[in-house]
């Protein structure tokens, strides 16, 4: 067996994460495939250059949250912008994003409706294909396999690359679901031909398929797939662990068929310090034992028996070692080791009881939450740190369960929702206070505004405007050129008038006659000048009149707006207050629902953990029985030997 990197604390964390991932993938819905499709909600995850650009900034705002993994903020912001109709240029993409995010939160029905609507309305082919893919995904998750395959068949080849891979994987899963393993292999082979045979998801899919085939009785074909995974060269710890897992499954499958040498070859490929090392050591021992080479079997079993007893393989080794000694006729040694094993099993049983009590006291979930905080609700999240509990080693297999992880995520989501509702409860108080301030400010300003309103009588200005308009009309009609006289002309006219009075009193004096003539010419010059300027002055006057009209009408509009505001503002504030109270009632109604579900979910998660530990206890009880039975057998043999006069166990 090859040496691997010692896990250590960091390694344990990683190991747990990997375990969770592998087990998740081993179940029906592979975690990696989910990661792929959520990434692909928006096709530009690996953005081409130059970027296509967002045509509505608010759509980009939702993407800003989405790309940070803040899916709750992404979906709520998206829905707010949809409400205000701020994403017209990305209406379809926004719906795909919303549907995908709903789906990620398990809101299958609503997500399904969104995608179905997109298809019905005849969205463009890339959007339609994505909608069909998600519909297929939803139907598969709901167990509607035939309908899921039908949806997959509607995809026309416009999927982004990431989704294309997920589509093939979904196709393989569907084939597996109806027992068509050959079909699943064909789908995965097609994926291999796309140049990504070693991608994480493809390897996980091959592993799952191999295990499924062995379980379905197609051992040779399943083993061939597992062998492929078990030999794949890879640098990543995650895939090395998957490779170990495949080799362990392969080794035990060979053991089951009494192919000890094949088992040994597969188990040899498992790293000595990986998370699957214990199982491999156990199997390695059995492979040797089945070839009657018990001395060779004792080497891995003795090493294994000294490891952490919270692993089932270690407990099993504690029985296997004395079994081997007994087979080698070293009965005294075997007897002592069986008794040690019984003691170790009883200690382990007591530790399991302590762990169960700690879980039921809520310490497991509290510890997990404390050690694995997260900003938002979301399923793309893994338990990275074990909580501090007396015997946290028991929890590794518990936490690695897909079902536990999913249930715990739901629990964590509910705590997030409870916090979210509490924050809104506080924010609504702030909004209420703000509304009260506005009411107060309105009430305080209203008298001053009304006073000012009273002091400005627009009717007077209307009257003046009307008089001016009438005068202008008369001037134009009568061509009253003198009406537009400026100050200088008016002064000149006054002087002409006064000179004219003098001249008229002067009689027939010849000098007066000359003055009269000069006066006539001056008056004529003035009239001529005014006539010349009349058209321009009339235009200016009309323009001034239009400005006056506009200003007056703006003043009227402002007066009307003010009056409307006075009339409407209380109603508007009342409407806001009513909305605040209606929403506060919804917050209030949801809080106990969330609290009740969180308590129920906590109980469910804890019971999942307890059930796993109970299984460990059952296994221990079986081991204790086996050990006691073996001890009894050894004593029986000794009694028989004494009866025969042979030696007692040594």
């Amino acid at each position: 067996m090859r040496n691997g990197v010692h896990p250590g604390k960091r390694g344990l964390r990683r190991t747990l994460r990997i375990a969770a991932c592998v087990l998740a993938l081993a179940c029906a819905a592979p975690a990696h495939a989910q990661f792929g499709w959520i990434k692909s909600l928006w096709p530009s995850t690996n953005r081409p250059e130059p970027p296509t650009g967002v045509q509505d900034p608010h759509y980009g705002d939702s993407l800003f949250y989405f790309y940070q993994g803040r899916y709750f903020s992404a979906v709520t912001n998206l829905m707010v912008s949809q409400h205000f109709d701020r994403m017209r240029n990305h209406a379809d993409e926004a719906e795909v994003l919303r549907g995908g995010l709903f789906l990620s939160y398990g809101l299958h029905r609503e997500a399904g409706e969104i995608f179905a609507k997109l298809i019905e309305k005849g969205a463009p082919p890339p959007v339609r294909d994505r909608a069909w893919f998600y519909l297929a995904k939803i139907r598969y998750q709901r167990g509607l396999h035939a309908q899921a395959e039908e949806a997959l068949a509607r995809i026309e080849g416009n999927l982004p690359a990431d989704l294309q891979e997920d589509r093939v994987l979904l196709q393989a899963q569907l084939a597996m679901a109806r027992g068509d393993y050959a079909g699943a292999v064909r789908a995965l082979d097609a994926l291999a031909k796309t140049g990504k045979p070693g991608s994480d998801v493809a390897l996980y899919a091959r592993y799952n398929l191999g295990v499924a085939m062995i379980k379905a009785g197609e051992a040779a074909k399943g083993a061939a797939l597992l062998d492929e995974v078990g030999r794949v060269p890879t640098g990543s710890e995650e895939l090395r662990s998957l490779r170990d897992k495949a080799n362990v499954a392969l080794g035990f499958s060979a053991l089951q068929e009494d192919r000890a040498e094949d088992a040994r070859r597969s188990l040899e490929r498992v790293r000595l310090s990986g998370m699957h090392a214990n199982k491999a050591l156990l199997g390695f021992g059995w492979a040797a034992a089945s070839g009657k080479n018990l001395n060779a079997a004792l080497v891995p079993w003795t090493e294994l028996a000294q490891r952490d007893p919270s692993d089932a393989a270690v407990l099993e080794a504690k029985l296997a070692v004395p079994y081997a000694y007994a087979e080698l006729s070293a009965y005294g040694k075997a007897l002592g080791l069986y008794q040690d094993a019984i003691g170790a099993f009883e200690q382990e049983n007591a530790r399991l009881d302590e762990s169960i009590a700690a879980i039921r006291a809520g310490k497991l979930l509290a510890g997990l939450i404390e050690r694995n905080p997260g900003e938002e609700m979301g399923w793309f999240w893994n338990i990275a740190e074990l909580p501090e509990l007396p015997h946290s080693g028991h929890l590794a297999p518990v936490l690695a369960q897909h079902e536990f992880q999913e249930a715990f995520k739901n629990y964590r989501d509910l705590l997030f929702l409870a916090r979210n509702l509490k924050q809104w409860e506080d924010s609504l108080d702030v909004l209420r206070a703000m509304l009260a301030n506005r009411r107060q400010a309105f009430a305080e300003r209203l008298p001053a505004v009304r006073e000012r309103e009273r002091s400005i009588d627009l009717g007077i200005y209307d009257g003046k405007r009307n008089a001016l308009a009438a005068e202008l009309a008369r001037v134009e009609r009568e061509a009253d050129v003198a009406a537009f006289a400026d100050a200088r002309e008016r002064e000149l006219q006054a002087r002409i008038d006064s000179v004219r009075a003098i001249v008229e009193r002067g009689g027939s004096d010849p000098e007066i006659a000359a003055a009269r003539e000069r006066l006539r010419r001056v008056a004529g010059a003035l009239a001529w000048q005014q006539t010349q300027n009349f058209a321009d002055r009339l235009w200016q006057a009309k323009k001034g009149m239009a400005d006056l009209e506009r200003n007056l009408s703006e003043a009227h509009a402002r007066e009307a707006a003010l009056a409307k505001a006075q009339r409407d503002e209380p109603a508007k504030l009342d409407a806001f207050a009513a909305r605040i109270e209606a929403l506060a009632a919804r917050v209030k109604a949801l809080q106990p629902r969330v609290a009740e579900l969180a308590a129920a979910q906590q109980n469910q998660v804890q019971e999942l953990a307890v059930a796993e530990l109970a299984k460990q206890k059952e296994r221990l009880a079986a081991y204790v029985s086996q050990a006691r039975f073996a001890v009894a057998q050894i004593y029986d043999r000794a009694n028989l030997a004494q009866g025969d006069g042979s030696a007692a166990p040594k």
Binding site: V22, S44, D61, Y105, F252, L255, L428, I580, Q601
Partner: protein, 173 residues
């Protein structure tokens, strides 16, 4: 021994690949949890709509966005925004946020209220420019605010010709 071997094998394979059938009670609880999640998401939308209408009515609303078009020539650290000579935003970016901008996200960095009329916006971008040098640049724009909401996008672009980052302001209408 064979029995034991089978037991171990069962443990190994079971732990590896057994899909656990969901129990009815679990399914009911799951359904109720999904329902409550949907209800809270919709409630959040309605609350956010109310908050926006109350705090930033459409006739006075102004929103400022930051986006990055390629952005290879500029590694963004922070953005500071002044509106009519008043500091309204001073934002320090996390690597995850910068990454989100690179991928096409657009950050709404500020939302506030402005009266109708002419206003001035000044934005300062700090970060690392070409050759990893400290880089600080400003962009200014005068804009008219009507009684419609105003959306202004500050765009960080790469000028491949000049091999320099460019900062542009786009006014959406």
């Amino acid at each position: 021994m064979l029995t034991r071997c089978c037991l171990v094998l069962a443990v190994a394979l079971c732990a590896a690949a057994s899909p656990v059938a969901a129990q009815t009670t679990t399914a009911n609880l799951d359904d109720r949890i999904q329902d409550v999640k949907g209800d809270v998401i919709r409630l959040n939308r309605d609350l956010m709509v109310l908050e926006e209408e109350l705090l930033f009515p459409a006739n006075t609303q102004v929103a400022i966005f930051v986006s990055m078009d390629v952005g290879r020539l500029f590694s963004l650290d922070s953005v500071k925004i002044k509106l009519d000579d008043k500091d309204v935003a001073n934002y320090l970016y996390t690597p995850a946020e910068v990454q989100a901008l690179h991928r096409g996200g657009v950050q709404r960095i500020y939302v506030g209220n402005l009266k109708a009329g002419s206003h001035e916006l000044v934005a300062f971008f700090t970060g690392k420019g070409p050759h990893d040098r400290d880089y600080k640049r400003g962009a200014t724009i005068r804009f008219d605010k009507s009684t419609e909401p105003k959306y202004i996008e500050l765009q960080i672009k790469d000028s491949t010709g000049k091999l320099q980052p460019e900062f542009e302001v786009k006014v959406w209408q």
